[in-house]
Symmetry: C2
Subunit: 264 residues, 2 copies
């Protein structure tokens, strides 16, 4: 084999080695992400690359690539001479039960809500239909930027049926979950909610509002909440910063669909 | 007021008008996204801009900006002279019950799995601990690229305890969910799973594997699944393309935490 053939054969071999290292780096990154998310390293420092390489049976290069992946995600920071440190907390939002943000994060700090817009609107047909309000009947529209310990966490667009929504004009929306206020106004607990959860990239304007990079991954939730008597009262579109929040819950194999009402 | 002062005053006014339009565009986009996701327009064409403007009580410019947001997300396509069409289906993954991908998507087409890696490995401590295997005990590692109707949907990294994992070397992994195969091998149904759900941006290598743009929003799930006797057997890290899948489920206000086992 002459040198040229040698080089031609080497190209796919190098590509293959790169692919294998990238695959391995992803494996290591996933396991480290989980440890970080569950407080495995406290708010502190990750072990040295050499120690991580031993623990994962991986090369130093692979470990470095894994740490770079986590850095790109904003989960860790890397400083020459200092090592790798946990960059910021990612908060767990309970997925086992219908909960407001302040309720689910009460152990993690204080949620404050900046009301960006609030008022009565004539709802588009798609909103009116889902909330079961007659044509021409206004609904309350509310837009809030929600912060945890002062840092932007989510942007919430909320449509409320008028009779339970209008009294909220007088409520302390800065410091209370809508869910808790709705139960007070309605004089009955909430019942069930249908939700859809997606991952989307932040558009430029949303990114600016959430103080996140353009294109940042957001966890987007659409949720229609009913009172315990079954009436739909609250339609929300919520964008969570993906780097600040994780949903956590449990699923069972043996249930059919415990809470399923008819989809409207 | 002279002309210079006039211009100075106009700059914040223009910025404010832009901000208001961006906010309105987001509202319209969210409602349209929901309609598209739930098949409101079939696989077909959206109403004309003028009709949408009427429906949403918004200006043509706002509607155009909303459609641009959905185009950036890959949900719709816009063609001069043709209008706005639904770009591709986003599939609903049931979140009410512990389900495999083929199980939950059976109405939407056929799931095929490309096995990228499979073998026995000595697990990192973080994996061994969660699966409850003794130090030195190997586990099965499996990596699959999963497609729905031929299009990449998710990249799944799976760690299985040896006794239920090793028999899968002989199974038809291309066409079966791991969950179904595990139940056959173990001779008992699965029980519960703890899961964490996040939105992350695709790194370059993952994006290439999933045939998505670099930085694309992914729905990332980490899930530890137990047999019905409580033994953890299956630890998975799953990355779903955000533009191809949405999680759908129901939450109830009145449950404490029906399926919660102790977090390991």
């Amino acid at each position: 084999m002459d040198a040229a053939t040698d080089r031609a054969a080497a190209v796919p071999a190098i590509a293959e080695a790169r692919r294998r290292r990238a695959d391995r780096a992803r494996q290591v990154a996933d396991l480290l992400r989980r440890e970080i998310l569950h407080g495995g390293f406290g708010a502190g420092r990750l072990p040295l690359e050499a120690a991580l390489a031993r623990e994962f049976g991986a090369s130093r290069n692979t470990v470095r690539e894994a740490l770079d992946l986590l850095r790109e995600e904003g989960i860790v920071e890397r400083c020459p001479g200092v090592g790798t440190t946990v960059a910021g907390e990612k908060y767990p939002h309970g997925l086992h039960r219908l909960l407001g943000l302040a309720e689910t994060l009460h152990e993690h700090g204080s949620v404050t809500n900046e009301v960006r817009t609030m008022g009565l609107i004539e709802p588009p047909a798609a909103v009116g239909r889902r909330l079961g309000v007659a044509a021409g009947e206004p609904v309350v529209y509310l837009e809030r930027l929600r912060r945890l310990n002062g840092l932007p966490l989510s942007l919430d667009l909320t449509y409320l049926v008028r009779d339970v929504g209008e009294p909220l004009f007088e409520a302390d929306l800065e410091r209370n979950d809508i869910f808790v206020l709705l139960e007070q106004v309605a004089g009955q607990p909430l019942g069930t909610a249908e939700l859809t959860m997606e991952a989307v990239n932040a558009d430029a304007h949303t990114a600016a509002v959430l103080d996140a990079p353009r294109g940042a991954a957001l966890l987007m939730i659409e949720r229609l909440t009913h009172l315990s008597d079954g009436r739909p009262v609250d339609l929300e579109f919520v964008r969570f910063r993906g780097d600040r929040l994780a949903m956590r819950g449990h699923l069972r194999r043996d249930v059919e669909d415990p809470a399923a009402p008819e989809d409207p």
